[in-house]
Symmetry: D2
């Protein structure tokens, strides 16, 4: 059964609910971010930075938080249009399997069609099988791999 | 034997050499970009847009063009630092196998360490075996896959 | 009497109406922009670039174009919030004196409050008396002057 | 007599010297910024954000800090080129009148010519007479005034 989810942009009053979702996300990936990085991310998400945005999914019935999405906009070289990098997608354990993640991705694709973005992309671990089942359905099979070099000391 | 390559930023006078390298790149990927997209990309690369940059590799002896790299800078959510997306990397057929591509990536990683970027990343086709041999050496094995939804009509 | 104006973001289908308003704006300032600059500006406004945006004002009764506004978002140093630069504001001769310019500025200020921007600012010629009458009302007297050095050859 | 000043970009190790100059700047303008805003500004200046940059002026003889400049890059509508907003310029009391402020502005104008920026601009209070004497010399008389609406609560 599908949860009825309401999707809406993050605003300044959302810090507590955002914090609990972001903690869940970080716990899932077994990372601990320093407090200034979390504060700084919150600032970026709510200070009108045009390149970085957040969306909340909430239950239409109870108002309970169901999920969180962060996305980044940047130029690219193959067209004059902006591309959108869906960087973080998280659904609470209780709300998984009910279409919330899919609804967030589809909202973002629809927004991109309206705004004239060129492409929406995201990355996932090669062996994250649950996520890949969903992603194969909404985007077709992955054919590109990502290489990365960490640069900070 | 290694080519002695000089690496330098693109400037406004480089349109002819840039055009011939970019044509080579597009031919390699079997894409034809419309002229206004190519003109617009050239404008972005040379109009001081802080988010998008180009580098040329030239022979230290003959001045001949050996390779081209375009990169994009954007914010992300896991740190307050910028990340760098190496979007396009091209080495002419005559200059392949001589370390030019590697020199361009290493220049970019060094610049990123100086500037305080968080990470340098790029994508390649899962089955581009030649490129992956190099990328495995400079970045280790790829463990992330990329999903994408095209958004333009 | 106030015109009933509908304010809405520019979209890809608006090129003809945008072009006629932009021509009016350029004629007012006695500048002729080269065709590639106009095409490039149109591309930026409609390609999802998060830093640059356009709004149309149209008559609620006839659908006729009444005005145009372009604005730019950028970071600044006195707060972590984004600032908004209202770069161009134009109202057709027939629609002047009916509150269209004021409505566009007020829409932008309201949007800024929603998005969490720090400040909305714009420039005008010291001796543009008509514009300054409106601006004194919506923003109070100007106390800052702008210096500029042209950099292109 | 002119001070021999060395101008160089801010890097991560410069926090103490930057802090003392920024404190001097804020004292001059009689503003107190909250600590998280100062920390966040430092992060932006040193995390590779391509839109915001800082430069230090140091004495060539003693290494002592003489001045500080922050600048912001953003798109605009009258050309496809980037514009540069010189947001903050500060010279220590001991170093005033020796050409340090002028050297910083001239360095920035030269960089802009290299990078292909369209224009360099900045604001000052209408009644800051000392600053306006310098600015009239480097940029000619100001003919534009700035209007602004504060948007934060």
């Amino acid at each position: 059964m599908k949860a009825q989810a309401i999707l809406r942009p993050l605003t300044e009053g959302d810090r507590p609910v955002w914090q609990s979702l972001w903690d869940g996300y970080c716990a899932f990936y077994k990372v601990r971010l320093p407090a200034p990085v979390i504060d700084g991310l919150w600032e970026k998400l709510t200070s009108g930075d045009p390149a970085i945005h957040g969306m909340l999914a909430e239950s239409a019935e109870t108002g309970e938080a169901l999920g969180l999405m962060h996305y980044v906009l940047h130029p690219h070289t193959w067209s004059l249009k902006t591309v959108c990098y869906l960087e973080d997608l998280f659904v609470t354990e209780a709300a998984r399997g009910q279409g919330v993640g899919r609804a967030l991705i589809e909202w973002l694709a629809a927004r991109g069609r309206d705004e004239g973005w060129f492409r929406l992309y995201w990355h996932t671990d090669e062996d994250n099988e649950t996520a890949r089942l969903l992603y194969d359905r909404v985007a077709g099979p992955a054919t590109m791999v990502r290489y990365a070099i960490p640069l900070t000391k």
